[in-house]
Amino acid sequence: MAEKKDKDKQRDKGKGEHREKHLARIKELLEIMKDNDLVELEIKNGDEKIFLKRSQPQPPAITTVPMVAPTVPIALTNSNAGQISPAPAGPAASEELVAIKSPLVGTLYSAPSPDSESYVEVGSLVNSTTVVCIIEAMKVMNEIKAETSGTIVEILVKNGEAVEYGQVLFRLKPD
């Protein structure tokens, strides 16, 4: 019985140490995420996989910095949760989808006014002249048109978000 207890103790101790190392590792990863302002982090190591997701950090005025410190040695997956990711030209865009990119630097509004409905939702049918959003630049409201007809598949920006030139705003599946 004592023997078994010893073994159990050792096993428990081993598990405890393992758990501690594991927690320490997770804490380390969380620090890395915070320091680099990452929303999601996934690490695969053989069978082992860690997936961490942070709640969206308080938005700075700009969400357009895709810069990641080159010394981070782990593989990062781009957040493809879609709706809230501000990454320009996300690599997971499939061949068939057309990206609607911002032609301006400014603030994006999803609807014509604060009380109105959004111009488009996921699933909305658009043609080349459909207004999909407004970008305000220097107090001038610019209507942004779809330019292609099709169905909105992804909305990558939020109302009131700052956008830069070339940033992918929507993805649509062309007719």
């Binding site: 005025a61 700009i62 357009t64 910095v65 410190a69 630097v105 603030t107 630049a137 030139y165 070339g166």
Partner: protein, 445 residues
């Protein structure tokens, strides 16, 4: 101190300003075009905003996009760098109207000194000798021709709205004058939106000497001594040094004081460079004021120990120049070589392309200001300058030796650069003996 600024420029000067911001605790937001997306200095900034495609008209020269970026980034001020919008009065005015501090002179001082004809008048007013020429803009061809004969050929026709070596034509006789005059006006209209021209006598075999100045909001103005920029090709500087190796102390004092008189009279604030020509008799003649920080500012930083970009930021924050002229000392000799992606053996044809090997020089007395790295692609959209190599030693002989060593170590491949040209100039007898003028490079290389 300003807390957050936008840098409306690119390349090495954007990096330079980011560095000064870092050390002053100012947040730096930098704009970039799609051609500069891979620039490593972007990640040294606090934010980076893409403002357009490679074409400068759609990005670095695009005022609405830059102002828009400044607004969404919520900055206190904009640093325009040099070139692009740095001397654009309209841009400075718009910044003012939008409540964004322009890191540079007040609009009126920029407007006044940016007009080369008005600047000449102002210089004369404060008893600074100007290059002999017309009193103002000359519109009438007949009058211009008469004046040209009076001044004496060769004569230079210059655009009033020009500057920085652009919008200038040399005429040698009456016969070619008329054609040159109307062509110059047309070119000036196309390039600067203003066809006004004036005349200047061509000073024979001049040296180009300029004075670095800095002024604050309370009317204090200080100089940081001179730079000699005689090594030029087509009015673009290649090598700059400080001190001017042929100036005696009395002339130096007179020159620097003349520069300060001009700056004070114009109500100038922040950094400027007052440019002169020096003739064989060591008489100096005012040509123009550059109302911005200049490419070659590191030369002055090395010999005075002052960080000029930090001064620009401090002055824009409202700080004053709390020390006296006598506290600014000049030590040793500094030389800068601008290295361009051009092929000197092929009429300086631009050499854009990917830099596969980049091994920068180092060691004592060497400073390299560049945004370029191994793997960087030099674009066709912007000017060809890729780095500034600066050395500082106690004597000119030692500075030349260090520069030659550094240029010899420097590897930039496979594109062609002007490194071989710089080495040749530094080894040339006339350069070593200070027997050069602004035509030297074009005559010998």
């Amino acid at each position: 101190m300003l807390s957050r600024i936008l840098i409306a420029n690119r390349g090495e000067i954007a990096l330079r300003i980011i560095r000064a911001c870092r050390e002053l605790g100012i947040q730096a937001v930098v704009v970039y075009s799609e051609a500069d997306r891979e620039a490593p200095y972007l990640r040294l900034a606090d934010e980076a905003i893409c403002i357009g495609p490679a074409d400068p008209a759609e990005s670095y020269l695009n005022i609405p996009r830059i102002i828009s970026a400044a607004e969404v980034a919520d900055v206190d001020a904009i640093h325009p760098g040099y070139g692009f919008l740095a001397e654009n009065v309209n841009f400075a005015q718009i910044c003012k109207e939008c409540g964004i501090t322009f890191i540079g002179p007040p609009v009126e001082a920029m407007r006044l000194l940016g007009d080369k004809v008005e600047a000449r008048k102002l210089a004369k007013k404060v008893r600074v000798r100007v290059v002999p020429g017309s009193d103002g803009v000359i519109n009438d061809e007949v009058e211009a021709l008469k004046l040209a004969s009076q001044i004496g050929y060769p004569v230079m026709i210059k655009a009033a709205a020009g500057g920085g070596g652009r919008g200038m034509r040399v005429v040698h006789n009456d016969i070619s004058f008329r054609g040159a005059f109307s062509a110059a006006k047309t070119e000036a209209q196309a390039a600067f939106g203003d066809g006004s021209v004036y005349l200047e006598k061509c000073i024979a075999e001049p040296r180009h000497v300029e004075v670095q100045v800095m002024a604050d909001n309370e009317g204090n103005a200080l100089h940081f001594y001179e730079r000699d920029c005689t090594i030029q090709r087509r009015h673009q500087k290649i090598i700059e040094e400080s001190p001017c190796p042929v100036l005696d102390e009395d002339t130096r004092v007179e020159l620097c004081r003349a520069a300060l008189r001009i700056i004070k009279e114009a109500g100038y604030v922040n950094a400027a460079t007052v440019e002169f020509l020096l003739d064989k008799d060591k008489k100096f003649y005012f040509i123009e004021v550059n109302t911005r920080i200049q490419v070659e500012h590191p030369v002055t930083e090395m010999v005075t120990g002052h960080d000029l970009i930090k001064w620009q930021l401090k002055i824009a924050s409202g700080h004053t120049l709390k020390f006296r002229q006598k506290n600014i000392k000049h030590t040793g000799v500094a030389i800068e070589c601008r290295i361009n992606a051009e092929d000197p053996a092929n009429n300086f044809a631009p050499c854009p392309g990917r830099i596969a090997a980049f091994i920068p020089p180092g060691g004592p007395g060497v400073r390299l200001d560049t945004h370029v790295f191994q793997g960087w692609t030099v674009s066709t959209s912007y000017d060809s300058m890729i780095c500034k190599l600066v050395v500082h030693q106690r004597t000119r002989v030692e500075a030349i030796a260090t520069m030659k060593r550094a240029l010899g170590e420097f590897v930039i491949e496979p594109i062609k650069t002007t490194i071989p040209l710089c080495l040749d100039i530094l080894s040339h007898n006339l350069f070593i003996k200070n027997q050069i003028d602004t035509g030297f490079v074009e005559r010998h290389f």
